[in-house]
């Protein structure tokens, strides 16, 4: 069904639209991506702060340790995102949360479920490397730590937009990159949104966590609405027929008894 085609309210063909909207609003894979990004930013941000202190105080042991921890965490995250573990984890969480209502997927133009193609892994690797570079620039005092969020938004916003477009997620998924991007611009131009110096890390962690959470909650609420619409529309737009009591119906009833 063409999504541009307009149908009267109650037309059975709207079922197609609501089934798709529901499948596009299941937020589990998005949630896993969000957790992954929040952990990445948290670890890299913490390590950047620590290496900066170590660099300023000429504590080479701590400095080397922090740089090592930063690179190691980046490698672990890269391995995890590429391993079978991540897709199995997504399936387990999905099954735990949505098992009772079942499974429906919509991958849009990508047309392939499960593992993402290599170029998306490349982009995710780039995201990691870019943030690592930002952390190193901060560590060596080439960039003030206050610019970490705008620096992050410069890659994160287009990255998230590409992922949302590729995975054909619902409108709710746009909330994250748009708000994160706007936050970066506002911080860059000195709008007073900033946490104090002792809480510098929160300037990146709060927006990445908060805007992502808002998007996920919106998507989850919308998926409940879409499911309700889908069920109601399916029941009302294609009602059961009395005259189905023919051979076919008998056959079906026999099947029912067999399963009962």
């Amino acid at each position: 069904m063409s999504s541009k085609k307009r149908y009267q309210p109650g037309d059975p063909r709207l079922i197609v639209l609501w089934a798709r909207r529901y499948a596009q609003s299941r937020t589990i894979s998005f949630l896993v991506q969000w957790v992954f990004i929040v952990i990445m930013v948290l670890v890299i941000g913490l390590a950047a702060g620590l290496t900066q202190i170590a660099h300023e105080q000429h504590r080479m042991g701590l400095f080397t340790l922090s740089i090592g921890a930063m690179v190691l965490s980046a490698l672990i995250m890269l391995w995890f995102s590429m391993s079978r573990w991540s897709s199995d984890l997504i399936f387990s969480i999905t099954n735990w949360l949505y098992g009772r209502e079942g499974y429906a997927s919509w991958t849009g133009s990508s047309g392939k479920e499960g593992s993402l193609p290599l170029w998306t892994t490349g982009l995710s690797g780039g995201l990691l490397a870019y943030h690592l570079l930002g952390a190193l620039l901060i560590s060596f005092n080439y960039m003030p730590i206050g610019l970490l969020q705008p620096w992050s938004a410069l890659y994160m916003t287009p990255y998230l937009i590409i992922m949302v477009l590729y995975q054909q997620l619902g409108f709710w998924a746009w909330i994250w990159p748009i708000l994160y991007g706007i936050h970066g611009v506002l911080l860059y131009f000195g709008v007073p949104l900033r946490f104090g110096r002792e809480y510098e890390l929160l300037n990146i962690v709060v927006p990445i966590f908060g805007y992502g959470l808002i998007a996920i909650l919106t998507g989850h609420i919308y998926s409940r609405y879409a499911l309700l619409k889908l069920k109601t529309l399916t029941r009302n737009a294609i009602p059961d027929r009395e005259e189905t009591q023919d051979e076919e119906a008998e056959e079906v009833q026999a099947g029912d008894q067999g399963h009962g």
Binding site: M1, P12, R13, I15, V16, L17, W18, A19, R20, A23, D88, F91, S92, N95, G99, R100, E101, G102, Y103, A104, S105, W106, T107, G111, E113, L227, L230, K231, T234, R235, I238, P239, D240, R241, T244, E248, E251, V252, Q253, G255, D256, Q257, G258, H259, G260
Partner: protein, 101 residues
């Protein structure tokens, strides 16, 4: 009315096919929930649709859990499209008849 595909014209199968045409794939539980059918009913209708070549079934394992997914085939999508076109044509004829009366 005779032109309409009898396999699709049955309300339960029409529900199943219409839902499947909106997604890439769905499992048994999802169809059970959304099409408001009993397990036996759904199984019989799925068999019928599979035999007609309108849906495909993919069985796999996720970890140790078996997982069965259903998708609408190209043949099913085209039959469904034809069905709606046929129904629209019947409605248009009915409307024409009502107006002329």
């Amino acid at each position: 009315m005779d032109d309409l595909d009898r396999t699709i014209h049955e309300p339960a199968r029409l529900r199943i096919l219409t839902i499947l045409s909106g997604v890439d794939a769905a499992d048994f539980n999802f169809l059970l929930n959304t099409a408001s059918l009993t397990k036996g009913n759904l199984s019989s209708h799925m068999d019928r649709l599979e035999k007609a070549g309108y849906v495909s079934v993919e069985k796999s394992f996720k970890g140790r859990m078996p997982h069965t997914k259903f998708s609408i085939t190209e043949e099913g999508a085209s039959a469904l499209k034809k069905y709606w076109e046929g129904l629209d044509a019947i409605r248009a004829m009915q409307d024409q008849g009502d107006n002329s009366a």
